[in-house]
C-alpha cells in the first residue's frame, strides 16, 4: 500500500506544515526565530529526500542552500538584529491564537481540497508534495497578515518561500533555473531585509508595523 519512501516524504512534508503551525502560535521573538530554524532544517531534509527519490542530484544543492542560508546564516543575522536594535521582544497579534489556528486548519483543508484532485494524476510524490507546499505557502501568508511586527512578517515571508521551494522540488525534473531563482531570492531577501530593518530602526523605536501605520499616506 504505502512504500517506505512515500512515508518518509509524507513525514517530512507534514512536519513542515506542523512547523508552520508552530510559527503561528509563538509569541516571543526568539521563539519565532528558533522555530524558523526548525522549519528550514525540515525543508532541507524534505528536499534532500526528494532528490534521493527522484534521482535528481541538483536538488541536493537546493537542500544545502536551504540549510546553510535559511537554517544558519539568516537566523544568526536576525538574532543579531533583534539584540542590537533591542526590538520589542513580544509579538503582538492581530487575531487571537485560537482563531489563527482555526483559520490555519481551514487553509490546510482548502489546500488539500484544491490541490489533491488536480494533481492526482501526477503521481503520489508530486501530489502530496504540492498539497503540503500550498498549505505551507498559505500558512506563511496567514502569518504575514496576522502579525504586527516587521521581523515576524519577514519570517512569515521566508516560510512562504520555503513552501515554494518544496513545491519546486516536487515538480519532477524542473531545470537548474529553479535553483538559481531560489538562491537568488534568498540572497536578495536577505539584503533587503537587512537594509530595511536598519532603515526602519533609524526612524522608529520598535519594528512595530502599527507605528508605521501612523504614516499611512493614502489619506492624501
Amino acid at each position: 500500500m504505502h512504500s517506505f519512501q512515500f512515508d518518509v516524504a509524507h513525514l517530512l512534508a507534514s512536519g513542515l506544515v506542523l512547523a508552520s503551525f508552530m510559527l503561528l502560535y509563538q509569541d516571543r521573538m526568539f521563539g519565532v526565530i528558533n522555530v524558523f530554524v526548525l522549519h528550514a532544517v525540515l525543508l532541507a531534509m524534505a528536499v534532500a529526500w526528494q532528490a534521493y527519490v527522484q534521482d535528481a542530484p541538483h536538488l541536493y544543492i537546493t537542500a544545502a542552500i536551504a540549510l546553510v542560508f535559511k537554517g544558519t546564516v539568516i537566523p544568526v543575522a536576525l538574532y543579531r538584529i533583534v539584540r542590537r536594535l533591542d526590538i520589542h521582544r513580544n509579538i503582538e497579534k492581530v487575531v487571537g491564537v485560537g482563531s489563527t489556528m482555526l483559520i490555519g486548519i481551514g487553509l490546510v483543508s482548502l489546500s488539500i481540497a484544491v490541490m489533491l484532485p488536480v494533481t492526482h494524476r501526477a503521481g503520489a510524490f508530486t501530489s502530496e508534495d504540492l498539497v503540503f507546499a500550498l498549505a505551507v505557502v498559505l500558512l506563511g501568508l496567514l502569518m504575514m497578515t496576522t502579525r504586527r511586527n516587521a521581523v515576524s512578517q519577514v519570517i512569515g515571508f521566508m516560510s512562504l518561500e520555503n513552501g515554494l521551494i518544496l513545491a519546486a522540488a516536487g515538480a519532477k525534473g524542473m531545470p537548474l533555473v529553479v535553483e538559481i531563482s531560489v538562491a537568488f531570492s534568498v540572497l536578495i531577501a536577505f539584503i533587503v531585509i537587512g537594509v530595511f530593518l536598519f532603515r526602519i530602526r533609524e526612524r522608529f523605536d520598535s519594528v512595530d508595523v502599527q507605528a508605521l501605520d501612523r504614516f499611512r499616506g493614502d489619506r492624501g
Partner: protein, 318 residues
C-alpha cells in the same frame, strides 16, 4: 465450554482492572516521592485508604440532594465499565463488540457530567469553581479526544476498539505522521482528563490550583472511596488505551492458547508499570500551568488531532 471460558476471561479482565487500579496510583505516587528524595507511602497504601474510607461514616451536607448521593455510584459504574472494555491483555473478548471508542468516550463523559453536577449540588463555592473549570477543560478535551478517535478509525476503518487494536497489531502501519500526532494529542488529553500536572495537581488542596479535588471536597466515607477508585480506574483506562492502541505488541488474540494469555498479562503489567513510571517522571519535571493557559494546551491537542485527521486524507487517496 467456549462460552464459559470466554466469560471467565472477560470477567477476569473486569476484576483485573478493578484490582490493579489502586496499585497503579500507588506506584505513581511512590515513584514521584522517590524522585523527590522522599520515602513516600507504600505502593499498596491506596488499598488501605479505600478500605479505611469504606468503613467510615458518610457525612452529608444538609443541602445535598439525591443527585449528590447517587453520583458516586454512577461515576464508579460508568468508569468501571469503560475500563473493563478496553483491551488490556487480549482482543476479541466476549463483550468487545460493545467496546466502541465513541461509547467509551460517552461513558467517560457521563461520569464527568455527574461529577460536575455533584460539585455544584451542595452549593459551596469550591464546588462551583471545580465544576466550572472541569467543564472548561472538558469542552476542549472531548473534541480533541474525538479527533483522535476519528484519526484512528480512519486508519483502521472501524471504531470498535478491539478491532483497532488488532489492526495495529497485525498490519504494518509504517511511519504514519497522523498516528504520531494522534498519540501526542491523546497523551495531552489523558493528562487533562486525569487531572495530572500540568493541568491539575492531584495532591493539592489549594483553591487556586484545584479542579478535580474541588468537586469532591464534600464527599466522605464510602462515597469518597468510590470516587477515588473511579479516578484510579480512569488513569488505568487511559494507560491501557494508549498501550493497546500504540504499543499493541503482546496482545493475545481470541483463540490463542493460555500461555499466550499469560505472556500478554505479564506484558500488560510491564506496560502499566512503564506508563506509571513515565507519568511520575513527567509530573516531577514540569510545573503546573496557570488555569487560563489550559485552553491553549488543550487547543494544541485539538489542533494536532484535526491536523492528524486532515493529513490522513492526503495519504489515503493513493
Amino acid at each position: 465450554m467456549g462460552i464459559a471460558v470466554a466469560l471467565i476471561v472477560q470477567g477476569g479482565q473486569m476484576m483485573l482492572v478493578l484490582l490493579l487500579a489502586p496499585l497503579l496510583t500507588g506506584l505513581v505516587r511512590k515513584i514521584k516521592a522517590r524522585l523527590l528524595r522522599r520515602q513516600g507511602p507504600s505502593v499498596i497504601q491506596p488499598y488501605r485508604d479505600l478500605l479505611r474510607l469504606l468503613r467510615k461514616e458518610v457525612v452529608l451536607a444538609q443541602t445535598a440532594s439525591p443527585v449528590f448521593r447517587a453520583a458516586p455510584y454512577v461515576i464508579f459504574a460508568a468508569i468501571w465499565v469503560a475500563a473493563a472494555l478496553v483491551p488490556t491483555f487480549a482482543t476479541g473478548l466476549m463483550f468487545s463488540w460493545s467496546a466502541d471508542l465513541i461509547a467509551i468516550v460517552a461513558l467517560l463523559g457521563t461520569a464527568r457530567f455527574m461529577l460536575a453536577l455533584a460539585g455544584l449540588d451542595v452549593g459551596t463555592s469550591f464546588g462551583g469553581i471545580g465544576s466550572s473549570r472541569e467543564m472548561m477543560i472538558a469542552s476542549l478535551a472531548e473534541p480533541a479526544m474525538l479527533m483522535v478517535v476519528f484519526t484512528l478509525s480512519l486508519v483502521a476503518q472501524t471504531t470498535q476498539l478491539s478491532s483497532i487494536a488488532r489492526f495495529m497489531l497485525e498490519h504494518s502501519v509504517g511511519l504514519r505522521v497522523s498516528l504520531a500526532m494522534a498519540v501526542v494529542a491523546l497523551l495531552m488529553v489523558a493528562i487533562a482528563e486525569n487531572a495530572r500536572i500540568p493541568v491539575d495537581n492531584p495532591a493539592t488542596h489549594l483553591e487556586l490550583t484545584m479542579v478535580h479535588e474541588a468537586m469532591v471536597l464534600e464527599y466522605s466515607g464510602r462515597h469518597l472511596a468510590m470516587i477515588e477508585l473511579g479516578a484510579a480506574l480512569k488513569l488505568l483506562l487511559y494507560v491501557s488505551l494508549i498501550g493497546c492502541l500504540f504499543l499493541p505488541w503482546g496482545l493475545a488474540r481470541a483463540g490463542d492458547d493460555p500461555s499466550a494469555y499469560l505472556l500478554a498479562i505479564l506484558l500488560y503489567l510491564a506496560k502499566l508499570a512503564a506508563g506509571g513510571g513515565l507519568l511520575a517522571v513527567f509530573e516531577t519535571s514540569i510545573a503546573k500551568m496557570r488555569v487560563f493557559r489550559v485552553p491553549e494546551f488543550l487547543g494544541a491537542a485539538l489542533m494536532l488531532g484535526l491536523l492528524a485527521a486532515l493529513l490522513l486524507f492526503v495519504s489515503k487517496s493513493f
